[in-house]
Amino acid sequence: MGLVRDVLVGSWSLITGMAVTIRRYGRRNVTVQYPRKRLEMSPAYRGHIELVRFEDSGRHNCVACGTCVRFCPTNVIKVQGEKEQARSKKRATLYFIDFSHCSLCGLCVANCPTKTLKFSNEYELAHVCRWEGVVDLIRRVEASA
């Protein structure tokens, strides 16, 4: 009797499995023809970091304090700044990252005192040579304006 029950229960589970796949057969696809169509990235996606452009001032707010440089475990970040006028704060004039070393740990974003760092939605990150992994964040934030 055990064998008969096994066969019946097994057959039912096979039918259940086939119902699952045929339902998915009718569902909408999740992939797209990539170079021609692109997907909208989720806001939670972590690409390389980028500078935030604040709405009120219309520009980034990096003061070149170097916190991110010191926190970065793999020395990805290079930042330089200068004062726009005497006794004002410094402002970043150069902000480079070498994404080929970045592990996306997020310590720079978490510790930025002016909250001017965030993760971008950049996902086309394949390169043919290592120098293409270097991103100029200042130029990037200016181009986005």
Binding site: L3, V7, L14, G17, M18, V20, T21, I22, R24, Y25, R27, R28, N29, V30, T31, V32, Q33
Partner: protein
């Protein structure tokens, strides 16, 4: 043109030539279509798109693949048994073509209506096993040999229940002739008389064609590619053609034996659809089911596969045979 051919060659040879050309064309086109269908169905089950680039919805993708295979080098490794190695792809194709000879595509469209049609199909379908063994043995490769051994063991195990359930149909219709078997189903298809036999047939047919979940002869994760590991180019393509044509043959036989062949379903009799269309519709519906099964279930382990045949399929089909023999004796 047909008349000229008959005048020159005589009716028998003309029929033979026309049949050979038609069947080779059918094998090629069927394989091109099935490979595309398989890739599309698997893609949509996995929520992907599948081939989309060559032709509308990628329909010409397999033609491009075929041209690529034609252009590839025929590699013969050192230390192979050269005669068997070259012969195996030819043998596998011979069996396929011979099986198709007696398939009744419609009332008129059949190359030869032999009175031992079913017997011929099952005799020539064993060519497939022979060719796999030849290919696997001669390639001098452990994966090929293991794949071939598995294939032979599996095909012998699943041929027994397959033949036992086909015997039910033979007793019921009292004939081995394909056209007569179809004619006896003009009112009710055999599948309604013996649904269990049809189910066993389809399971065994899946195993006979070495398809998932019974695809251990070419289990990619264990045996590279099984018996055709060492084959390349057109020789590999011949095995590929044979595999998909075997799928067509087993479903065509299932259509003939259980699903009324070229006959339309009774409630659709008024439609002016030719029999050959019904035949192909039924065959491709069954093939869709086989593809659907492949992309649903994981591969069986070898001992599970053997146990399933010897401990479940053979006793059940034997019991089925005895019960139906009694029923046919009583009502007939």
């Amino acid at each position: 043109m047909w008349q000229t051919a008959v005048d020159i060659l005589g009716p028998d040879v003309a029929r033979l030539v026309a049949g050979a050309i038609g069947l080779v064309a059918l094998v090629q086109i069927n394989t091109l279509f099935l490979v595309w269908l398989e890739r599309k169905v698997s893609a949509h089950i996995q929520l992907r798109l599948g081939p989309m680039e060559v032709g509308p919805h990628g329909i010409l993708q397999t033609i491009a693949d075929g041209i690529k295979l034609l252009g590839k080098e025929l590699i013969t490794p050192r230390h192979v048994d050269r005669k068997l190695y070259v012969l195996a792809p030819i043998v596998v194709f011979t069996g396929v073509l011979s099986c198709l000879v007696v398939i009744p595509f419609s009332k008129e469209l059949q190359v030869r209506d032999l009175d031992v049609g079913v017997l011929l199909i099952f005799a020539f379908s064993t060519f497939n096993v022979l060719a796999i063994l030849m290919g696997g043995w001669s390639a001098n490769n452990k994966y090929s040999l293991l794949g071939a051994i598995r294939s032979v063991a599996q095909n012998i195990a699943y041929e027994i229940p397959l033949l036992l359930v086909v015997l039910n149909v033979m007793m019921w219709t009292n004939s081995l002739q394909m056209s007569i078997i179809v004619e006896t189903q003009s009112t009710i298809w055999n599948v309604f008389w013996m649904p269990v036999a049809a189910a066993i047939y389809l399971i065994c047919a899946t195993a006979e064609t070495n398809r998932a979940p019974f695809d251990i002869p070419e289990a990619e994760s264990e045996l590279v590619a099984g018996f055709h590991t060492e084959y390349s180019g057109m020789r590999f393509a011949m095995f590929f053609l044979a595999e998909y044509s075997n799928m067509f043959i087993v479903t065509a036989v299932a259509t003939t034996l259980f699903f009324g062949g070229w006959k339309s379903p009774l409630w659709l009799d008024f439609l002016p659809v030719p029999g050959v269309v019904w035949f192909f519709l039924k065959v491709y519906a069954l093939i869709f089911v086989i593809i659907w099964v492949r992309w649903t279930f994981p591969r069986l382990r070898f001992d599970q596969l053997m146990n399933f045949s010897w401990k479940v399929m053979i006793p059940v089909s034997l019991a089925h045979l005895v019960v139906y023999a009694g029923i046919i004796k009583i009502i007939g």
